[in-house]
Symmetry: C2
Subunit: 75 residues, 2 copies
């Protein structure tokens, strides 16, 4: 599973899930020195870790992120 996050919409979002996701993405940006600021795609293995931290499976997490408008559709 490959999920691209809309960083601009993430900035405007609220809530505890948003904060946790934000911190994780910020750390990836720093590791990569990727400061495009618009989108960020993370590894499938990251999604699995994040999903279990939220007590969900990966598909349910992705559905939740889509509901929050945080996912950039893949071309």
């Amino acid at each position: 599973t490959k999920v691209t996050i809309d960083l601009v919409r993430l900035n405007d979002a609220n809530g505890p899930e948003r904060d946790l996701l934000y911190h994780f993405l910020a750390s990836v940006q720093v590791q990569r020195q990727d400061f495009n600021g618009k989108v960020l795609t993370i590894r499938g293995e990251d999604l699995r870790v994040i999903a279990s931290m939220f007590g969900r499976d990966t598909d349910a997490l992705v559905v939740r992120l889509e509901e929050l408008g945080l996912v950039v559709p893949s071309q």
Copy 2:
């Protein structure tokens, strides 16, 4: 360890190590749809696998790739 391979020089190189590396990088390019054609950076974990297939440790593999002129220096 992060190693960026010069794809143009890899194309001109010879030998069994070159062929194995070429096939691996080609598969990564396809998985990513990354066809910039000039450079490709692979994961540290990939280098470890490739190194042990060549009977070396990772540092020795990187030295060998540098000797062959296949490594793009990191900025």
